[in-house]
């Protein structure tokens, strides 16, 4: 393979621009909202009320069982036919948040279950309600175990955001495709895009390590 290095160099700007204006904000916004949603869904799944936990289970099953592309399409192209017309960015953020919500809910649920029952009881014995014990005792501990699996969800999300180009959100991969389409250098541009994604993921992974270290300060090594 021989590459047109000038092209690669000159397209680095648009690619990084796409990452900064599209990929990264889209990832961060969707992940934050998705986590909140996931926490709610995880708590619903853990509810003793069969209807509540059934709804949550159904949601998770649909989100995980169907392609993200279809989810995006339904929200952007499908909802207008029932009168709900959302702009590309809101559509994308909603779709990705719903997706993260489904995947991360299972992670968070498992993390909550992994905190020993004795911690709930210790919370109760100092007078805490279920809610207080959840917030002050259980979730801080669940956070620690859920960082590695959530970082998987996060890293997948970074790359999945490329699908947003299907609903008119311009991001890293779309810019690569654009340059590729005009220069006909598909392989070079795709490799370049992959390299940019890789750098983003490397940065994120080191952020993950830092976070883990911070959360691990109260654990024996």
């Amino acid at each position: 393979m021989t590459f047109d290095w000038d092209l690669i160099w000159s397209s680095l700007g648009p690619l990084i621009g796409g990452a900064i204006k599209g990929t990264i904000p889209l990832t961060l916004a969707s992940f934050s909202l998705g986590l909140i949603l996931a926490l709610i869904v995880a708590l619903m799944r853990l509810s003793r009320n069969a209807v509540v936990s059934g709804v949550a289970r159904f949601y998770v099953s649909v989100i995980r069982g169907t392609p993200l592309l279809v989810q995006l399409f339904v929200i952007f192209y499908g909802l207008p036919t029932v009168g709900v017309k959302l702009d590309p960015w809101p559509s994308a953020i909603i779709a990705f948040s719903l997706n993260v919500g489904g995947y991360a809910a299972e992670v968070i649920r498992a993390a909550i279950l992994s905190v020993p029952k004795g911690q709930w009881e210790a919370g109760h014995t100092i007078g805490m309600s279920r809610g207080q014990a959840l917030v002050r005792i259980i979730l801080p501990q669940a956070a620690r175990v859920s960082v590695p699996p959530l970082s998987n969800t996060f890293i997948s999300l970074v790359k999945d955001t490329s699908l947003a180009s299907l609903i008119l959100v311009t991001e890293l991969f779309r810019n690569a495709q654009q340059v590729a389409a005009f220069s006909q250098e598909f392989m070079a541009l795709y490799l370049e895009a992959a390299a940019v994604y890789w750098v983003i993921c490397l940065v994120l992974s080191s952020a993950q390590s830092l976070l883990e270290k911070r959360l691990d300060r109260y654990v024996a090594h």
Partner: protein
């Protein structure tokens, strides 16, 4: 599309041009096409056999060369990469000739010559020409020539994967216009007569669409050109064109 392993010609970049002899010795012409671009390349009834204007012409060309046409269906993203990787002998997918492509690939003589059109909603009178696209929003396939054209006209261009999405955006009022080739639009209105769309303007220049080959496949291009000329003169191209468009767009 199975058995793509029987690889197409390994024609030379350095040595002699064996593009034609390779095709002849294999007895097949490996043709890349999307298979999802009606009426040029699509599946009969949605899941039947591959057909369409480009497909039929490619078959006719192969027959003239005395070989079988073997189609490889791929997404547009992979179509040129596959040609460069020599997984295909040629592309039959309404590839319009432009300077960038000409620099990298060889082209046959065009077999589709047709104008581009601006499609708008039937009740929209604000767009009457390419000049009036300025400041409007259009939806274009990234890989089509019309993307550039719309951009040059000052439109705010949204890239989409294909015609179906572009038209959905237009009908939902999310874009003001779609610039595409006329033939696709005509085919669409045939199946969706009540779409509420219209042609607002036509391009002055007609775009020329042709088969694409790897650079240096001169012998093969020559043979295909000869076949196309024969098909033109014996009326086959016109017949195929009439079948799909009710008009002769092949010249």
């Amino acid at each position: 599309s199975s058995g793509a392993g029987s690889s197409p010609s390994s024609s030379s970049s350095g040595g002699a041009d064996t593009s034609l002899s390779d095709v002849q010795s294999k007895g097949e012409l490996v043709v890349a096409t999307e298979g999802t671009y009606k009426p040029f390349t699509y599946h009969e009834g949605g899941s039947g056999s591959l057909t369409g204007y480009d497909v039929e012409i490619a078959k006719a060309v192969a027959a003239k060369l005395g070989v079988k046409a073997t189609f490889r269906e791929t997404q547009f993203d992979g179509i040129f990469a596959g040609l460069e990787a020599k997984r295909f002998d040629m592309i039959a997918n309404q590839i319009s000739i432009n300077p960038e492509r000409s620099a990298k690939y060889d082209f046959s003589t065009p077999y589709t010559i047709s104008p581009g059109v601006i499609v708008t909603k039937a009740d929209d009178n604000s767009i009457t020409s390419f000049d009036s696209l300025k400041g409007k929003t259009t939806a274009q396939s990234l890989t089509s020539n019309y993307y550039k054209l719309a951009q040059q006209s000052g439109a705010n261009v949204q890239a989409v994967e294909g015609w179906a999405q572009a038209i959905a955006l237009l009908r939902q009022g999310r874009v003001d216009a779609v610039v595409n080739d006329k033939l696709t639009y005509l085919d669409y209105t045939k199946t969706n007569p009540n779409a509420g769309l219209k042609i607002a303007a036509e391009t002055a220049d007609k775009s020329k669409n042709a088969f694409a080959f790897h650079k240096g496949a001169t012998a093969l291009v020559k043979a295909v050109d000869k076949a196309l000329a024969d098909l033109q003169s014996d009326g086959t191209l016109t017949k195929i064109s009439m079948k799909y468009f009710g008009a002769d767009v092949s010249k």
